[in-house]
Amino acid sequence: MTVAEVQHADLETLDFGLSGEQRAVQELAREFAAKEIDPLVDEIDEAQRFPKEIFAKAGELGFLGVLVPEEYGGSGLGYVDYVLIISEISQVDPSVGLSVAAHNSLCTNHILKFGSEDQRQRWLPDLATGRKLGAWSLTEPNAGSDAAGTRTRAVRSGDGWILNGSKTFTTHGSVGDVCVVLAVTDPEGAKHHNISAFVLERGMDGFRPGKKENKLGTRASDTAEVVMEDCLVPDANRLGEEGEGFIQALRILDGGRISIAALGIGTAIGALKTATRYAKLREQFGKPIARFQAIQFHLAEMATKCAAAEILTLAAAAAMDGGRPVTRIAAEAKLLAGEVAVFCAERGVQIHGGYGFIKDYRAEKYYRDCKICTIGEGTSEIQRLVIARQLFKENR
């Protein structure tokens, strides 16, 4: 049984007053996920294989340049559309959802938001159409939640910079073509104003992928170390103001949180649909287990939490599209959606009973995949800190 087989008519996701175009975008993503991703899910998970063929097709349809204006080869859509796309894809495979999210809202978005016109012209058309795959490197072995503790150094050398250091947990670290790397450019500079962002490209001397991680979940999404060893990067590859890379990264993460919230919603809804379908088919004591109140209560609770997370995330996306501040609401959406993903995936396994514990059904996969949602792009704990900080700021 797969998600694609679930009748969406009997389990409609929330209608948030979407426009006709937004519904069409959602339908396209749903169709794409069912036809192009669903048949590969089990194989790419087991083999930890990054599915290049899916990304080639996703690029043709515009899923890899969702937020990029048409003048740079993108689709020119907003965050609400983006959330719908990531959610639909993640319902079928959170691995692919995660990769599409990272490509769009981290690497590509950083170049779009902070790149010069030349830089946009240079990289965005290839990224937005999927001819090149984007990676974004912030985290280091000793600088995770404490991103300001970055050690990777960039030292001026003639017209460029020499980069040394290594980054962990880079999505598309091994398969990426274009990688935005955060490095300290002024070790003596003021905290949060001493880091700059650079665009590195596959094949540059001294830039290489390191160890590819063997992960619990989202295994088809490539996560690897990237290593810079005396890597000479032209100054033309530096994004935005010197020393402002960390502040840029925080802005990028605001948007990134919305996309991980969308990943969480998709994972949760995927787990819910899989469990609902199973409950209708699985018979015990002479009737489908869906007829037992114990199972109904699990499903009702899952559905309610999905709806709440979805509304909050769409509200965050709408705020982003409206140019309103999103730091707090994006963190709230990411926190809630992540926790809901874990809740629903766990209940999904429980509803499947013994069959939830083996790989014949996807319940087990959602259970492994969901956990990234409370960790990646800021742990749930960090989200709470961000929310509390904003709360105090707003009530000074």
Partner: protein, 264 residues
């Protein structure tokens, strides 16, 4: 080439159906509607031909407000514009009334070719295409599974599926009405750009008067066929279920098919 594609919007094949209270049709209230399957293939065929020969594809559909969604989708897939036979007077018609209206709408513009699906997924009369051809006075082919417009664009060569697995190839002078089968090609996806471009494309809503037709010539008022009831046949009647060893069941089935049903 200028190609018209006639599309019907039908309930999603995955939807669970209920009969309406008056027993004259299914309850459409909570249904999801999609482009009729073989009409989707007709659209793909039209887009491919237009890409090869130049020209444009115009989609036509008859029905209420919800039909616009199907037309938008066709525009997102690459059709240049759409004509919506939107007036409530058009609705509730049999194939004759619907075909007459569509033929009038097509005739109002110059087309080289009309493409549509061979059968609708709901009513399934398979006759609207022939009626359109009749009103236009154009040649017509049904159950088409291969289509090639000849050089000079004066004729089309089509492969048709006949009974017992026999195929035939026929040549039709253009303009013509061609009804394709599902599976004739691989329909494309819309792209995100296509969806956004569709927003700026025209969907012209037309009334019977716009087409030079009186209200009594279209829709339910003009229908010579009347639906008396729709219902789900009682399930299980006449069914025989074999139980036990599969190989043994298969043997019993073959025996029955041979001796009782006499189909083998």
């Amino acid at each position: 080439m200028k190609i018209a594609v006639c599309m019907k919007q039908v309930p999603d094949t995955e939807a669970s159906l209920r009969v309406r209270k008056d027993s004259l049709w299914i309850d459409e209230e909570e249904l999801t509607f999609v482009i009729n399957e073989s009409d989707g293939y007709a659209l793909e065929e039209a887009l491919t031909i237009a890409e090869k020969t130049g020209g444009e594809v115009v989609v036509f559909s008859l029905g209420g407000e919800r039909v616009r969604e199907a037309l938008r989708k066709a525009l997102a897939l690459g059709a240049a514009r759409a004509v919506h036979l939107a007036d409530p007077a058009f609705e509730g018609g049999d194939a004759l009334a619907t075909g007459r209206a569509l033929a009038a709408a097509i005739q109002a513009q110059q087309f080289d070719l009309v493409l549509t699906g061979s059968q609708s997924g709901d009513a399934g009369f398979s006759s609207t295409g022939s009626v359109i051809a009749g009103f236009l006075g154009w040649p017509h082919a049904w159950l088409v599974m291969g289509l090639e417009v000849e050089d000079g664009k004066k004729a089309a060569k089509v492969t048709r599926e006949m009974e017992s697995g026999v195929n035939e190839i026929v040549r039709l002078a253009l303009p013509a009405v061609i009804e394709v089968q599902a599976g004739i090609n691989s329909p494309r996806y819309a792209s995100l750009k296509g969806i956004m471009q569709a927003k700026r494309k025209e969907i012209a809503a037309v009334t019977p008067a716009d087409l030079g037709l009186g209200a009594e010539e279209v829709g339910a008022a003009a229908s010579l066929l009347e639906t008396l009831a729709v219902f789900f046949p009682e399930s299980g009647k006449g069914a025989e279920i074999f139980e036990g060893d599969p190989a043994d069941c298969a043997r019993q089935l073959v025996e029955k098919l041979r001796k009782e049903a006499r189909v083998l």
